[in-house]
Structure formats: structure tokens, C-alpha cells
Amino acid sequence: MNDCVLKIENLTKTYKLGKRNVQPLTNLDLEIGKGEFTAIMGPSGSGKTTLLNIIGCIDKATSGTVLLDGVDIAKMPESKLYKIRRDKIGFVFQNFNLLPYLNARENVELAMELAGKFKGQRKQRALELLGTVGLSGREQHRPQRLSQGEQQRVAIARALANDPAIILADEPTGNLDVTNKQEIVKLLSDLNQKQGTTIIMVTHDEQVAAQTHRMLILKDGKVAEHNQAKNKLPAASKGDFE
């Protein structure tokens, strides 16, 4: 498992807001191994979403290198980035972000359609994936007819559609009640254990984070490993893991 999927070195992200600069990520280093299930925690505004967006190629690093599957995506132009997103990344969002005019199966299929997969192949795989996330029989339902937990399952199936190198989940349980929360975490955990899916999950919930292999704290623009045994966040961790 020391095979490295993601290697970030010296990553800095600066937003310009008029005269003021916001720099949520400062000289950040991070390595994620293949098959790892990692949780990223940290106070609101600490840059968790920013980090995930840069890894997911929907935001650009200001400086530094981001090696995804050995390719530096930090300096890639948009004309190539969309293919990385399509083929290597699977996003799971807090608000599910399903397309409301498509049913569960079509939402999953769309990801494959964008990747140019053939129709028969697409449908077959969409049904399989929906089975994997426990939604057999609900394939024809549009999002508004699914519960929130079910919607997030569709989103997870969609994220898996193109066999991505990494799943990026930004507070996937943030909008769910306790039961659904546990089920979604269990689903992600199962995927990781049974299929070896690499997952990075941002969460505010310690209990959710506790179900992962590795817990990272994002603070002052950098990540620090958190000792899982304590199962508790340090009040003001300024740890620097370099």
C-alpha cells in the first residue's frame, strides 16, 4: 500500500480579494497511498474544500506540485484537466449535486457518457453500481423521489462510474441524519475495504472520521497527522509534519 496515488509538495493557494489576500494553503505537503481511506478535518475556513478542489482539478494551485498518479496537475491547462477529472477523479458533494432532470441510472450513466462509453456498456455498469450502493429497484427514480441518504448513494455510484484513481468526498455526511450518516460512512468504508478504492473525505464529524485509516488536521495552511488512538481533536494543534 505504499504505492503513491497523490503526492503534494509545497502547495500554496492564494485568493485575491481586492487588496486583501487570503491564503488558505501555505507550503502544504501531503502523500496519499493507494487504497488509503483518509479523513481531513479542521476548522471552518481552514481550506479543506480548497485542498480537495485542487486535488480534483477544479481549482488551480497558486504554486507547488500536485502529482496525481504520477502526473503533475498543478500546471496543466484546462484543455487537459477536464479529462483528468473525468477519468481519475470521483466527486461526492455535501449537497449530492445530482442532476434533477435525470433519474438515478441516468445520473450514473452521464458520467460514463462524458467518458465516451458505449450505451449498452453504460447501462450495464450503472445498474451494477446502483446495486453495489444498495439501490436496486430505485434506478428509475428521479432525485426528488429519493431520500437524502439514497441521493448520496446515487452520487457515490456516479463517482465510481469511471473507475477513478481517487474519490474526493467533501462533507458527504454533512446534510444527513444519524442513521443515513452511518450508512454512508459504512458504504464508503466497505468500498475501500472490499474494492480498494482510495478515498479522501473531508468531515467535521469525529465519529465519521474515526472510521478511516488516517486522520489529518488542516490548520494554518498545512496538514498534520492526528493520533487516532486519542480519538479527539487537539484544541490548538500547530503541528508541522515535514
Partner: protein
């Protein structure tokens, strides 16, 4: 699940909005489809009217046959019920002017020449007229129309000719076969077949006897306004008809155009029964008519300009409206779906895919509207055209009928009548300008919808394609 069905579903998401937009768009496109053929139809009818005005103008111009300094006088043709010919035809009388009148005319000052012409009408024994023309250089130089102008065989009369005759075709025909009086076409023209023409031509060089005198036929002439029958020298005609010194018409030439009216008045004072016409009097009659026709032409032209101006402006408005409707709808739609666009991009949709998705939606919308507009335009064409465009001037009774001697000009919605029946009513009269929707126009409408749809969608679609996913995902 293709791009097209996704576009359809997206449009169906906001049904009321889609219906309203399609309705507005259909109206704009209907305008676009209806206007060009309607403008064309109005253009056509105006052109037709102007063409007729030109025709009438030519007709009026042709009624001025005398040069400005020429005066003609004669007694009017009389009608004598006592003279009955062939059992049913009545014969006319042509009163002649005697040499007393001639000398009185000659004594009027400012006259440079007087040409006497003789015409003695036919009799039961001689079913054709005799025309006598002075064959001297001075007269012929002054007015070349005293001699036949269209010789069809042989030669014309020449200065100094004596004992020779030129026959018009009608006369020649009746000399060969007096029983067959005439072969007339519907329009009153003499109809001659080739054998008849050959027979008539063979007469040239031969001799005929008129009123007991032998004449050599030197030529044949077509019909002419002033001369006709057997045409010969004035001296010969005087001799064989015993009318020496008399004339049916004098052609009088004034030395100056300013003296024409005075001379005309003096001639009239010789005998009030004389018919006196001058180039000046003909022009005085023709002038107001020509002015009226000029005014009508200008009115029609101005009206057409107005129609074209307003029509083009409305086409412009329709184009802008259609484009704007699509532009704003799609802009709104892009804004509303920002987060969706972000999601699609996060899933790996390229800029081209997003662009294509929105372009498809915009163009689909305008095509749906185009189909409705096409169906609509077939029904509302006349109504809409009359609402959108000023009425063509030829449409109203304001300028018709115009009367001119015995000719009447009436302007109808579907054409112009110019003829001698003032009560003429065309058979299929309708109040509809005959504009029709042709397949080409429909195709053009469809093309225009496609183009405007694409044009209006381009900017919003580009905006959507350029959406930055990270920012779009934060958008609420």
C-alpha cells in the same frame, strides 16, 4: 440519453416559462415569415400600377399628334340616313370646304403655308374613298404625313406624279373582290392570308379604272390615320370627282408658336361649324392628364418607399426581439443552473460539451417556435400584414378611377384596369393582397430561426462553457 433529450428535459423543467418564451418567440418569427412576402406583394402591385401609369402616359403623349405650330381644320364627318349602302350599312358624308374658305384662311397673317387635302368618301358604286394630296416639294417638306407612311409594295407617290395611284390594302382588297367587304380581326385589323397578299401585290404595275379614268397602281400602303382609299395627286382627285378648289382638311402652319392661338381663333371665326385643332390645344388637353399621372406615380412610389421602410424596420425589430428573447432566457438559465454546470464540469464535461448542451437547448427552443410560427403565419398572413404594413395606395378608392377621354383607369386590390368601360368590375375581386407563403419562405423562416437561435444562445452558452467549476460549486 443523448444531448437532445437532455435539452428537451431541461426545457420541460420550467414549463410555464418555456411556453411563454416559445409564444413570444413564435410571434417574432411569425412577423419575420409574414413580412417579406407581404412587402413583396405590395411592391408588385405598386409596380403594376406604375407600369399602367407609364402606359397611359404614352397614350396621352401619342394623342398629341400635331407639331406645336400646326393647325388643322375641317368640317366634322356627317351622317346621312338617306344614304344606305348594302342594305344595312349606312354611309357617312364628308362636307368639303370651298375655295372661298381657302382664300379667307390664306389671308390670315402669320401663316407660312396652307396644305389642302381632299377626301371624297365612297359611294355604292365605288366602295372606297379617294384621297387627293398636293404633290409639291413645299407641302411634303412641311408635313410628311400627308403621304402614306407605310408602303407595303411598290413605291410611294412622288412629286410631279400624274395618273398614278397608291391603294391602301383595304381598298385593293375590295377592288379585287367587291363582295367580300372586309376581313377584320377582333381588334379591327385587316386580316390577309399569303395568297391574298400575293394577289394584291400583283396589282402593282397594273391599271385600274376609277370614276371612268385609268390609273396605274404604283404601290400599296398599310392603314394610316390621315390618308386612305385610293391616294393620288390633288389635281387628279379634283378632276375625277369634280371638286376642283375644294378640300376636306387644311393643314395650316403658323410662323411662330405664340401666334397659334390667334390664328386658330381667326379660322374659327370664318365658320363656327369648322373643327379647328392645334398642337397647342392638344397639349392643353394632355398636360393636366400627364400631371395627374405624374402625381399618381409619385404617390405610388412614396407609398412603396413607406411600406418598404416600415417593413424593413419591423423585420429589424423582429430579428432583435427574437435574438433578445433567446439571449435573456438562456442567460437566465445559465445563471440559474450555475451549480449544475459546475457539477457537470467536476464530472469531467469539457467546455465543448457544455457549449453544445446550451446551444442545443437554444436552437431547439427557436426551432419549436419556428414550427409554430410557420403554422401560424399561414393563417394570419393577411391580417398580420395589414396590421404591420401601411395599405398600398393602389388599394384605396382615393386615386381611382381616373377618366381620360373615353379611357378609364381603375385601381383594384388585385390589379389595375385600363380600358374604355367605366363600369368595369374584375371577376375575382378580393381585399387581400395576393401574398402567399411559398416553401422557400418557410425554409427561410426555419433558417432564420436556426440562425437567430444560435446567435442568441452563443453568448450565454460560451459563458456557461467558461464557468469556473470551483466558483460554480460555491454559488448558491
Amino acid at each position: 440519453m443523448g444531448i437532445l433529450s437532455r435539452a428537451t428535459r431541461n426545457l420541460a423543467r420550467r414549463k410555464t416559462r418555456a411556453v411563454l418564451v416559445i409564444a413570444a418567440l413564435s410571434l417574432a418569427l411569425t412577423m419575420l415569415i409574414v413580412l417579406p412576402p407581404s412587402i413583396q406583394a405590395r411592391q408588385d402591385i405598386t409596380r403594376q400600377a406604375v407600369d399602367y401609369f407609364v402606359e397611359i402616359n404614352d397614350y396621352v403623349t401619342s394623342t398629341v399628334t400635331l407639331s406645336a405650330t400646326e393647325i388643322q381644320c375641317s368640317y366634322p364627318v356627317g351622317f346621312d340616313p338617306e344614304i344606305v349602302f348594302s342594305g344595312k350599312d349606312v354611309w357617312f358624308t364628308q362636307p368639303l370646304m370651298n375655295d372661298t374658305i381657302y382664300s379667307q384662311v390664306l389671308s390670315i397673317p402669320d401663316i407660312i403655308n396652307v396644305i389642302p387635302l381632299l377626301r371624297v368618301l365612297g359611294t355604292p358604286d365605288r366602295p372606297y374613298a379617294i384621297t387627293g394630296v398636293p404633290l409639291d416639294n413645299a407641302s411634303y417638306q412641311m408635313d410628311r404625313t400627308i403621304l402614306p407612311t407605310n408602303i407595303t409594295a411598290g413605291r410611294n407617290l412622288e412629286v410631279g406624279d400624274k395618273g398614278v395611284v397608291v391603294l391602301d390594302l383595304w381598298t385593293a382588297q375590295m377592288i379585287i373582290n367587291p363582295n367580300i367587304r372586309a376581313w377584320l380581326s377582333d381588334t379591327g385589323e385587316l386580316v390577309l392570308n399569303e395568297t391574298t397578299i400575293e394577289k394584291l401585290t400583283a396589282m402593282v404595275g397594273g391599271t385600274i379604272t376609277i370614276e371612268g379614268h385609268e390609273f396605274t397602281v404604283v404601290g400599296l400602303a398599310g392603314e394610316s390615320l390621315t390618308t386612305g382609299g385610293a391616294i393620288m395627286s390633288l389635281a387628279d382627285a379634283w378632276e375625277i370627282t369634280n371638286t376642283t378648289g375644294q378640300a376636306w382638311q387644311y393643314r395650316i402652319f403658323a410662323d411662330d408658336i405664340n401666334n397659334v392661338n390667334t390664328i386658330t381663333a381667326r379660322i374659327q371665326s370664318i365658320d363656327p361649324k369648322l373643327e379647328v385643332t392645334s398642337g397647342v390645344s392638344q397639349q392643353n388637353i394632355a398636360e393636366p392628364l400627364k400631371n395627374q399621372i405624374t402625381t399618381l406615380t409619385q404617390t405610388a412610389q412614396n407609398n412603396l418607399n413607406q411600406i418598404q421602410g416600415i417593413g424593413l424596420m419591423e423585420i429589424g425589430i423582429a430579428v432583435v426581439a427574437a435574438t433578445a428573447i433567446i439571449l435573456f432566457l438562456m442567460l437566465y438559465s445559465v445563471r440559474e443552473r450555475t451549480k449544475e454546470i459546475g457539477t457537470l464540469k467536476a464530472m469531467g464535461a469539457g467546455n465543448g460539451t457544455i457549449l453544445g448542451q446550451f446551444m442545443t437547448e437554444g436552437v431547439l427552443l427557436s426551432l419549436i417556435a419556428a414550427v409554430i410560427a410557420i403554422a401560424l403565419s399561414v393563417f394570419v398572413l393577411p391580417l398580420l400584414a395589414s396590421l404591420l404594413l401601411p395599405a398600398p395606395v393602389a388599394f384605396g378608392p382615393s386615386i381611382g378611377p381616373v377618366s381620360m377621354s373615353n379611357q378609364t383607369l381603375i385601381l383594384y386590390p388585385d390589379g389595375v384596369y385600363f380600358g374604355d368601360d367605366p363600369n368595369f368590375i374584375p371577376g375575382q375581386e378580393s381585399n387581400i393582397i395576393a401574398a402567399s407563403i411559398t416553401p422557400q419562405i418557410l425554409l427561410m423562416g426555419l433558417g432564420a430561426a436556426l440562425l437567430l437561435g444560435a446567435l442568441g444562445t452563443l453568448y450565454p452558452a460560451l459563458k456557461a462553457a467558461r464557468t469556473k467549476p470551483a466558483e460554480a460549486m460555491r454559488y448558491e
